[in-house]
C-alpha cells in the first residue's frame, strides 16, 4: 500500500474516533475525480455537482463501512456511481445512450492517419482552445468508454481496479479503453492544421 493509502487510513481512523473535521482534508484530493465521474453520467455541471456533494456526504455517513483493503479513491468513485445511477432512475430521465452504445465486440476502430498530435507539447494547454478541444473530445465519448478512459488514463487506476470499480470484466476494460483512446485519436487529429509545409519541423496552429 502506498504512503497516501496509509495516510488516508490513519485519517479515517481519526475521523471515526471523533475528529470529524479531518474529513475536509481527507476528501480534498478526490474532489475532481468524483465530480468528473458524476459528470460522465449526467453531462450537466449543476447535476454533476449535486451528485458529487451527495456522494461525499454518503461516504462520510458510511465511513465506518470502508475497508482498508480497498483504496479510498475507488470506494468514493463506487459511491458516486451508485448515487448517479439512482439519481437517474429517480428522475426517470431514461437516457437511451446505454442502449445506443456500440457493443464491445465488433470491428477495429481505424485511427486517423494524421500525425500532428504527437508534436503538441503540454505548453499548448495554456491555451483555452486546446483545453476545450480535449474536454469536448472526452465528453463526447459514449459513457461506457468515457468512464473507463477516465479511471485508467486520468485517475490512473489499474485495469483491475477499473474493472472492480465499474463492475465489469478485465477484458471489457481493455476493449473499452482501446476504443476510447482510438476514438479520441481519431476525433482530435483532424482538428489540427499544420501551417508549415516542411514535413520535418512544423509549427502548428489550432483550427
Amino acid at each position: 500500500m502506498t504512503k497516501q493509502n496509509d495516510n488516508e487510513a490513519a485519517m479515517i481512523a481519526s475521523i471515526l474516533a471523533g475528529d470529524a473535521q479531518l474529513y475536509h482534508d481527507l476528501i480534498r484530493p478526490h474532489e475532481r475525480s468524483v465530480y468528473m465521474m458524476a459528470l460522465s453520467f449526467v453531462k450537466n455541471e449543476a447535476d454533476a455537482e449535486d451528485i458529487a456533494q451527495e456522494a461525499f456526504l454518503k461516504a462520510f455517513r458510511n465511513l465506518s463501512s470502508f475497508r482498508a483493503e480497498s483504496r479510498f479513491s475507488t470506494w468514493l468513485i463506487s459511491i458516486t456511481l451508485n448515487e448517479a445511477r439512482s439519481r437517474l432512475r429517480r428522475q426517470t430521465i431514461v437516457r437511451m445512450e446505454s442502449l445506443d452504445d456500440p457493443p464491445d465486440d465488433g470491428e477495429v476502430a481505424s485511427p486517423a492517419l494524421l500525425r500532428d498530435w504527437r508534436e503538441i507539447p503540454s505548453e499548448a494547454l495554456e491555451r483555452q482552445e486546446t483545453r476545450q478541444m480535449l474536454q469536448d473530445a472526452v465528453i463526447s465519448l459514449p459513457t461506457i468508454y468515457r468512464q473507463v478512459f477516465q479511471l485508467r488514463d486520468i485517475e490512473e487506476l489499474s485495469v483491475k481496479e477499473t474493472a472492480e470499480t465499474l463492475g465489469i470484466s478485465v477484458p471489457s476494460v481493455k476493449v473499452r479503453l482501446h476504443r476510447a483512446r482510438m476514438m479520441l485519436q481519431k476525433q482530435l487529429s483532424p482538428l489540427l492544421k499544420s501551417v508549415n509545409p516542411s514535413p520535418k519541423r512544423r509549427w502548428l496552429l489550432w483550427s
Binding site: 475536509h24 500525425r115 503538441i120 472526452v138 485495469v159 485519436q185
Partner: protein
Amino acid sequence: MVIECKHVWGYISDYLDAALPEDIRLDVQKHLEHCEICSAILDSTRNIIILTADERVFELPGGFSERLHARIDMELKGTGDD
C-alpha cells in the same frame, strides 16, 4: 511474423500499457520501426493521453470546493455530538 497496419492498430492500447504478450510485442515493434504511419498514430495517441490527463484540462466549476465544504460543515454540525 509480419503483421499489417490494421493489426497494429488493434494492439496500440495494450502496447502503450506494456500489456502485450512478448511475441506480439516484438512483431508490433518491428512493424513500428519501419512504418511511419503506425508510429505516428502510436505517438499521437500517447500524446493525447498525456495531454488529456493534465489537470489543467478538466477543472472544477468555480466555487465547487467552497460549496462542497460548506455542505459538509452543515452535516458535521448536525452529527457532531453522536
